[in-house]
């Protein structure tokens, strides 16, 4: 069995560190891991996507549509954009804070975040919504949204990894001065 995880968001939101943390946590448990990252032009504010596959039996680093067990979305519209990856019965963890691109303000398609959230609520049975603004306020920083989302994903029961596995990965990969903030972010629940 594999945990097939899609992380999605907007360039600059920290999806790559989140996928590194998941990979490191899995390796700490001696589980095989394959990941694939978006690197290049899209990092400049475009939609970004990481694939993380944990466990025996993964050939491709990329996950097929309708095969992801979990989607961790850093942004509501990006969750909808990647929803085709979700397998029936899969879980979506989503931050409710929209990032409105300049294109939506200068004549491109508009962004109705209410409609996007309503659609997610209707379509996804196992949906965990993270209140990103509240988390930023309570934790005193908006920069650890990625770890807040990982914490919510662990608690949703959709991962074979535990909070301790991820805490250890944080100790391995995150610079000393951000350790405390990230530990609190991992445990953060409202």
């Amino acid at each position: 069995m594999t945990d097939d995880i899609i992380l999605c968001g907007v360039g600059g939101q920290g999806t790559i560190l989140a996928s590194k943390l998941l990979a490191s946590a899995a390796m700490g448990r001696d589980l095989p891991v394959k990941t694939a990252e978006t690197i290049g032009m899209a990092q400049r504010g475009g939609s970004v996507l990481s694939h993380v596959r944990i466990g025996e039996g993964a050939a491709s680093p990329l996950i097929g549509t309708r095969r992801a067990s979990l989607i961790i979305a850093f942004e509501p519209a990006e969750a909808v954009r990647q929803l085709a990856f979700l397998r029936p019965g899969g879980t979506v963890v989503v931050s409710d804070r929209p990032i409105v691109p300049a294109s939506a303000l200068v004549g491109g398609p508009a962004y109705d975040v209410e409609a996007v959230m309503a659609y997610l609520r209707k379509r996804v049975e196992r949906l965990v919504v993270v209140d990103a603004d509240a988390a930023a306020r309570d934790l005193g920083s908006a920069k650890c949204l990625n770890v807040v989302l990982l914490g919510a994903a662990v608690r949703s029961g959709a991962l074979m990894l535990t909070a301790d596995d991820i805490a250890e990965a944080i100790r391995r990969l995150v610079p000393e001065r951000f350790q405390d903030l990230n530990a609190r972010a991992l445990a953060y629940a409202r």
Binding site: M27, Q43, G45, P61, V80, K143
Partner: protein
């Protein structure tokens, strides 16, 4: 040996180091860039590494070192091979002494490239052996095989991963540093009959190359890089031939108890014919699952013709596989299901009554505070309604094409913009012609363009966007930065001095974030005759990391949205009818402060 979680490109770099590579040269380009960066980070004392000014220079540096017996690696993206193809085509005839691997990263999709060219086809054209890995561990092993083969046959060898292999991660076993091979170059041995290319040498060497490649097709048929997964069940009467990352997509879609036999081709050229014949024996049909060109498909058709086999070969040429673009797990799954005559698992179509809401589009944009935005805006304001053409080029500044700036009318390939502007001027002398070029692009292939335009009496304004880095590909140094990949601080090559040496008399260096002054300069310079230049000099904010940020005084903001609509800065948005600034993105560049008609924005600090 130890285990590391590595990106494909990192594994390739570590493989080269384990093979004792002495000289590594390259030019950045997604998805190849991390190979050379990892060499620089992880190398020991026996390895020299450089970012060359372009791929042709890199190829020549590596060739010279390989003439002297060094093991060398050249890195580039696929379009870089177009730039380096002149030395490589001749080098194929001359050969090398030390092992030389030419790493060319292909980009099906394309995801971050101008073209979808296939380096396997280039391998056939140049007659050079080529390796095509399917994953991270595979790439690590193949680069070491490639060095061995190169040294054995005295010829450069190509290694062509694709984006999904370059940027995929796996945990794999790699050699410890003390296990790395130590390669001592013999030095250059004079021999004009070997190192000086003349037609009569090429006559002889061409014949040798053809004989060698026929021989290689034989030996590569036994290589571990070309292998067959035996089929199972009833489906075993047909086969699938595949390569690269598509091999993994095929595996994801195989039913363990009932599947075709699978040929994985790791050396597309010279094609392992004998292996292919063994594979084809007894198969009714074979589906070729490939990305980019139908290289294996054509080779198998040729094998069937040559050996009189009746197997039907299907793939791109029969419309069974999409002719362009990237394959995916599901596109390959569908193709295999159709091939086997079973229907793919029914797609559950989203209920018609429940369509997904409209989603915003997210084209990549210039960062908040990017100096290129200020440069484009200054030219736009200065030219107003004049008849102009803005010839762009390749780099972050290509993003100046997006609304609301809309300042890139053409973009072709690196360095082309200058002479394209010259060509437009020849046909439309009444158009005010601009050519925008980045600093790295200027050094890579802009200088010859300026010489051409100057010598041939063009009338155009060259705008050099000097942000002191190669930003698009992840901030590599270049000759103008005064830093090398060996960590030395060296004399900078001055763009202004180069332009003056060519003969330009007007060369003005301006900070684009000083909007008023920038506009005045553009107006004045554009009206001068001949070729003249403006160098907009201000550092990339990702490197400079300015600490200030601007704020909107909501009581002063009149809600005219001029800042938003003129600049398209991602930090600016609208909240309750007033402009607002996202502090996490804003770098305090002050451009919006200078655009606001009522002075409602303040707090930034201009770099």
């Amino acid at each position: 040996m130890h285990t590391e979680f590595l990106m494909g490109n990192e594994a390739i770099a570590l493989g080269a180091l384990a093979a004792g590579v002495n000289v590594v040269a390259g030019y950045p380009g997604t998805p190849s860039t991390e190979v050379l960066e990892t060499v620089a980070k992880r190398k020991g004392g026996q390895t020299y590494v450089e970012w060359s000014v372009n791929e042709k220079a890199a190829m020549e540096v590596a060739a010279g070192a390989a003439y002297a017996g060094a093991r060398t690696l050249v890195t580039m993206k696929q379009v870089g091979l177009n730039v380096a193809s002149d030395p490589l085509m001749s080098l194929a005839y001359i050969g090398v002494k030390g092992g030389m691997v030419v790493l060319v990263a292909d980009d099906p999709g394309p995801i971050s490239s101008q073209t979808e060219q296939d380096t396997r086809t280039f391998a056939q054209y140049s007659k050079l052996p080529c390796f095509d890995p399917s994953g991270v561990a595979d790439a690590y092993a193949m680069i070491q095989d490639a060095f061995k083969l190169s040294e054995r046959i005295g010829s450069p060898v190509l290694l062509r991963p694709t984006t999904r292999v370059d940027h995929g991660y796996e945990s794999i076993k790699v050699a410890d540093q003390d296990e790395w091979r130590v390669h001592q170059p013999e030095g250059f041995v004079k021999d004009p009959s070997r190192w000086v290319i003349f037609p009569r040498l090429s006559v002889v060497n061409h014949a040798k190359i053809e004989a060698r490649n026929a021989q290689l097709s034989e030996t590569l048929s036994d290589s571990r890089d070309n292998f067959v997964l035996p089929g199972a069940g009833e489906a075993a009467r047909v086969g699938i031939a595949t390569h690269g990352i598509s091999y993994q997509y095929v595996r994801e879609n195989l039913d363990e108890a009932n599947h075709p036999s699978v040929l994985r081709v790791g050396t597309p050229f010279p094609f392992p014919e004998r292996k292919a014949v063994q594979f084809l024996e007894g198969l009714d049909e074979v589906l070729c699952v490939e990305e980019l060109d139908p290289v294996i498909e054509r080779a198998l058709i040729a094998v069937c013709g040559k050996f009189g086999l009746s197997t039907k070969i299907r793939g791109k040429l029969t419309g069974d596989i999409q002719p362009s673009g990237e394959n995916t797990v599901e596109s390959v799954g569908k193709a295999i299901a159709c091939f086997l005559g079973s229907e793919p698992a029914a797609e559950v179509a989203p209920a018609e009554a429940d369509p997904a809401p409209q989603l915003p589009v997210r084209p990549p944009v210039l960062c908040a505070g990017c100096p290129h935005r200020a440069s484009f805006y200054a030219v736009k304001k200065a030219m107003g309604k004049r008849k102009t053409i803005y010839c762009g080029d390749i780099g972050c500044y290509t993003l100046g094409n997006a609304a609301p700036l809309d300042m890139v009318d053409t973009c072709l390939c690196m360095g082309a913009g200058i002479n394209i502007a010259q060509g437009v001027f020849r046909v439309e002398p009444d158009t005010t012609c601009f050519a925008f070029v980045g600093d790295s692009t200027f050094f890579a292939s802009g200088i010859t363009g300026v010489v051409n335009a100057f010598y041939n009496q063009a009338n155009l304004t060259l705008v050099v966007l000097d942000n002191s880095t190669t930003a698009m590909t992840g901030h590599q140094p270049h000759p103008g930065t005064g830093r090398t990949m060996m960590g030395e601080v060296v004399q900078k090559v001055s763009i202004e001095a180069v332009l003056r040496a060519i003969g330009l008399t007007t060369v003005e260096t301006v900070n684009p974030l000083d909007h008023k002054h920038a506009v005045e300069t553009v107006r004045r310079v554009a009206d001068e005759p001949g070729v003249k230049a403006i160098i907009f000099k201000s550092p990339c904010v990702v490197l400079a990391r300015p600490q200030s940020s601007s704020r909107v005084d909501a009581t002063a903001c009149i809600g005219c949205q001029r800042c938003i609509h003129e600049l398209g800065c991602p930090a600016l948005s609208l909240k309750g009818g007033k402009a607002t600034i996202d502090e996490t993105q804003c770098s305090g560049c002050t451009l919006c402060e200078q655009v606001c008609p009522v002075g409602a924005i303040s707090g930034g600090e201009r770099l």
